[in-house]
Subunit: 146 residues, 2 copies
DNA sequence: ATTTAATCTAAAGCCAGGTTTATGTGCTGA
DNA sequence: TCAGCACATAAACCTGGCTTTAGATTAAAT
């Protein structure tokens, strides 16, 4: 069993953050002795899961729900799977969005490289997509859709 | 020239958001007539850029800096390029991070599919990575590194 | 035994990116 | 003329995920 300070060192998380997670209900059945939190293996495993889910962009509330399901045993496997399938969708969509953003940024990089070469934006401002080199035209189209 | 309400309709942005952007300095030289904002082509083009930069995850402060550079003409092309190159790095790193998160989530999906089949986590809890099917082992390793 | 360090709680504060509210001005149509 | 609408400002409020502060206890070290 560990104190909050020891866990803070192990996970490189501020003590205040651990207390905050506890307050938000992320450690449903943590023990205490004389009011002092005692972190056991169960809490350590939960913290590992919390780190995962946070990286995946999941909100604290939903992490809490997940933790509750975990302490309810095998009857909640299907719900837990559904939660991860949903999260998978979310992250995949986010990655697709980011790829489009990246093309937009690549186009802007090309644009300013040209502007630097030309010394002005005159030529660039009357760009006709059809006249662009193919790989730039693709960026341009990704950048200007929707 | 357009009023704030017209622009709000064009861009599907609340009036309050447009006023907020203005307050944050995103329209450096917007005209007014009798106190009322007049949005011109310049402001419309800026809004298009703002939408791009926001999607790219750029903070309002940095968008403001960019807007100021824009109104300073060709002498700032290099700075603008540098800003986009930096942003490109940021987004590329973010995408790489998300890909790792995705593998972690895929591993969790596999995990709960197995748990549902098995009816318990007994077998899963003593997983030895070496015994996993190769494609799952890869996910596992991505999920448990760092 | 005493001091220092670690822990506790509740409540307030912080940040970004807005949104809402309260209050006021000015045009427009019935 | 007057109701209603679009516009204006300043300031308060909101959300999420913490962090900080203030004041009280407990544990550890000397």
């Amino acid at each position: 069993m560990y104190t909050i300070g020891q866990i803070s060192n192990m996970f490189h998380l501020p003590v205040s953050t651990l207390r905050y997670y506890d307050k938000e209900g992320l450690f449903p059945d943590m023990e205490r002795s004389a009011g002092i939190r005692r972190f056991g293996e169960k809490e350590i495993e939960k913290l590992r899961v919390i780190e995962c889910l946070k990286k995946a962009g999941m909100e604290i509330k939903n992490i809490k729900v997940f933790m509750e399901w975990c302490s309810q045993g095998s009857s909640t496997y299907a719900q837990r799977l559904a939660l991860f399938l949903q999260q998978k969708e979310n992250v995949e969509n986010e990655i697709r969005r980011m790829e489009k953003v990246l093309d937009m940024i690549r186009f802007k990089c090309w644009y300013y490289e040209q502007a630097i070469q030309d010394g002005n934006e005159d030529r660039l401002q009357e760009l006709i997509p059809e006249h662009l080199p193919e790989e730039i035209r693709e960026l341009y189209e990704h950048a200007h859709q929707d």
